[in-house]
């Protein structure tokens, strides 16, 4: 191998030394070996450091840095991206890794192949399994925008069909991710960045089950704010979610003009309007998956 690795994983860690070793092994054990891993620790502890160092001493592809002060999840995810880019400026692909999920040994091999085959694609992700303590369950949902040439159609399809929690752990073209704005300071920033990214290119889904996701509690805005932000959450996070996301889209593409040739300033304005329209439609007639999630959130709120 010569030159920078093709794939960089940014791993924003937050206090999971109990399972971090399993995650690191799954990343370092990839069949596709041309990669680097940057761990950015937002809750440094001797335990986490010890786990990382035990692998670092045997594998130079792994680096570790601890944040001096807590950045919050959004800040740490951004930091992981920036640190990964700084370490390997020429890397074509970037992926976020959690400190508790598991990556199948063929994950990078299959996703790099998928992106190599599709120059129009900006992100590829696999099907996934949910990891319960004693078993695994398939997540049956499928979504991709392959073959949708028009950016507006891809955006509309993503608004209605994308499950952000799975796709955000896909493999991204690093340049496209930077142009889409990485993580914005909004609630559900993973959904926001993916919707913005859908304007820049296709999403591909590899049909193999290559990502094993630890089961976590259902989404709730109240739980998200203190997790996402280090201090007080910005005032705009109390606006409706779609308004936050539309605002970010508007800022990134229509005002800052970072969409390049794919999304010019004027089209950025048009896509923001399209986004609001399609989101309103989704709110009125949500897909079954969203209805189920809302029911679960309501039930959880009722219990609380």
């Amino acid at each position: 191998m010569s030159g920078p690795p093709r794939v960089v994983f940014g791993l924003p860690a937050y206090g999971r030394p109990d399972v971090l070793g399993r995650t690191l092994e799954s990343l370092l054990g990839q069949t596709f070996t041309d990669l680097a891993i940057v761990v950015v620790d937002d809750r440094p502890s001797p335990e986490v450091r010890a786990v990382v160092e035990s692998y670092q001493s045997r594998d130079g592809r792994l680096t570790y840095e601890a944040n001096a002060a807590r950045l919050g999840m959004i800040g740490n995810w951004r930091r992981a991206f920036d640190a990964g880019r700084a370490r390997c400026p020429g890397a074509e692909f970037f992926a976020w890794a959690s400190d508790h999920d598991v990556w199948h040994p063929r994950w990078a091999e299959a996703l790099v192949a998928a992106l190599d085959e599709a120059p129009n694609a900006v992100m590829a992700y696999p099907r996934s399994l949910r990891m319960h303590p004693h078993d695994r369950r398939r997540v049956e949902g499928q979504f991709e925008t392959a073959g949708l040439a028009a950016a507006g159609r891809r955006l509309r399809a993503a608004i209605h069909g994308l499950t952000a929690g799975n796709a955000i752990y896909g493999l991204f073209r690093a340049d496209a991710l930077a142009r889409a704005g990485v993580f914005r300071r909004v609630l559900m920033p993973d959904r926001q960045i993916l919707l913005a990214l859908s304007l820049l290119g296709e999403f591909r889904q590899v049909p193999d089950y290559l990502w094993y996701r630890e089961v976590s509690p259902a989404f709730s805005p109240e739980r998200q704010r203190p997790t996402l932000f280090a201090g007080r959450a910005p005032v705009h996070t109390y606006l409706p979610l779609d308004v936050q996301h539309a605002g970010s889209l508007f800022w990134q593409f229509a005002v800052a003009g970072r969409g390049g040739a794919a999304v010019r300033r004027l089209s950025g304005l048009w896509y923001t309007a399209l986004f609001l329209g399609a989101s309103a439609q989704r709110w009125v007639t949500p897909p079954p998956r969203v209805r189920r999630a809302r029911r679960a959130a309501d039930t959880a709120a009722g219990r609380a």
């Binding site: 399993r22 092994e25 799954s26 370092l28 054990g29 069949t31 692998y55 045997r58 594998d59 598991v102 199948h104 040994p105 063929r106 299959a110 696999p126 399994l129 004693h134 078993d135 695994r136 369950r137 398939r138 193999d208 089950y209 290559l210 094993y212």
Partner: protein, 387 residues
């Protein structure tokens, strides 16, 4: 009656009689034709049966030749193996049941599949007049898997050497066939099989199956993934079944047998071998040049905990990226711990979600319970970086 009327009646009577005679002639001719056709069909069927009988006899004769060669090699393996293997009572029992195969005649070898009952528990006689419960289990298992994953991974029971089973959609299958089918599906779900199937034009892969049973899974796996060298380690007695079966069912297959006198020769140009048979006494020493997948289809369940550990450690030492292990769904916690618990020191354990989850909660046709005893638990374990 007027004379004209009488003449007309007479005329009509004659015409009716003539028509009757003509019809009789036609019927007689048709009967003769049918008889001739029946006779032809009978002759063709008899010829077909004779051809099949000759083919079966030729296969049986070839199988017996293969058997004699395998027996000589297996006997050498047995004689050089010594008695240093600590076999569990279950293994000892199995080997005692297979002992008569050392002196098998052409008839036994010609219907070798019917002698496999002690190995997998699936008995040919159960399929002569299958019970409604067995038929239900087969039908349901087959339907669930075919509906969910399609045909690509289904390999039917070969009719050679007395292959048996139930026929559906033109395919012959039995409980073993379904167990192997579900194992292939589990390997596919665990994203392991695609790498082996995609390797048709790429580098050849090496698979090690511990035990190997009667050779049924090796047969199915290599049909689905042809660019594979398949190594089986087992007590030499088992090769009297698996090696004979595989060499007979796949006449083009290139088989090799481990020779303790020149162990390295086994792996020279290993890519040119389809099946390699190694006595399990050599597990601690055999050293294939690469290893991509280690398979256990229940053989480890029969072994002592120490031997399971030896096998898992050897798979790790040889660089096997994956271990695939199958246990009965109703295996006791102790059995699961003895087998999978011993793999965990070297591998990360990932149970594969079962495919039969769409089975109806309410048993159909008044069956006493959901027929889940054909189901198995599948584990795909990923190699740890450091033990």
């Amino acid at each position: 009656m007027q004379p004209e009327d009488a003449a007309r009646h007479e005329q009509q009577r004659r015409e009716r009689k003539a028509a009757l005679v003509a019809r009789r002639v036609e019927v007689t001719a048709a009967k003769r034709r049918e008889e001739a056709e029946r006779a032809e069909r009978r002759q063709a069927e008899a010829a077909q049966l004779e051809t099949e009988r000759l083919a079966v006899a030729a296969t049986a004769a070839r199988a017996f030749e293969i058997y004699r060669d395998v027996r000589a090699r297996a006997a050498r393996m047995r004689d050089t193996a010594g008695t240093n293997i600590e076999r569990s009572p279950a293994e000892v029992r199995l080997l005692a049941q297979l002992a008569p195969l050392w002196d098998a005649g052409p008839e036994t070898v010609g219907s070798l599949r019917r002698a496999c009952g002690p190995i997998s528990g699936v008995r040919a006689e159960d399929y002569a007049l299958p019970s409604p419960d067995l038929m239900l289990r087969l039908k349901q298992g087959y339907r669930v898997l075919r509906q969910q994953v399609g045909d690509a991974l289904f390999v039917e029971e070969s009719p050679v050497l007395g292959g048996f089973g139930s026929r559906r959609d033109g395919h012959l299958f039995n409980e073993d066939t379904l167990m192997f089918f579900s194992a292939l599906v589990a390997l596919d779900d665990a994203a392991v099989l695609p790498a082996f199937r995609a390797a048709r034009s790429g580098p050849r892969r090496l698979v090690w199956e511990s035990g190997g049973g009667w050779g049924g899974f090796a047969y199915q796996f290599t049909r689905v993934c042809p660019n594979v060298t398949y190594v089986i380690t087992a007590p030499p007695e088992l090769f009297l079944v698996s090696a004979v079966y595989l060499a007979t069912a796949l006449p083009e297959a290139r088989c090799r047998f481990f020779d303790a006198a020149s162990p390295d020769a086994t792996w020279e140009q290993w890519e040119t071998a389809d099946f390699v048979f190694v006595p399990d006494s050599e597990v601690g020493r055999f050293a294939p040049p690469r290893l991509d997948l280690t398979v256990d289809l229940g053989a480890w369940l029969l072994m002592t905990a120490g031997r399971v550990r030896d096998h898992a450690r050897r798979a790790f030492e040889l660089g096997s990226r994956y271990v695939f292990s199958v246990l009965p769904a109703r295996a006791s916690a102790d059995a699961v711990s003895r087998v999978w618990g011993n793999v965990e020191s070297w591998y990360w354990l990932h149970p594969v979600p079962p495919r039969a989850e769409t089975m109806p909660a309410v048993p159909p046709h008044g069956a006493a319970s959901v027929p889940d005893d054909v189901r198995h638990s599948h584990l795909v374990a990923w190699r740890r970086l450091h033990a």
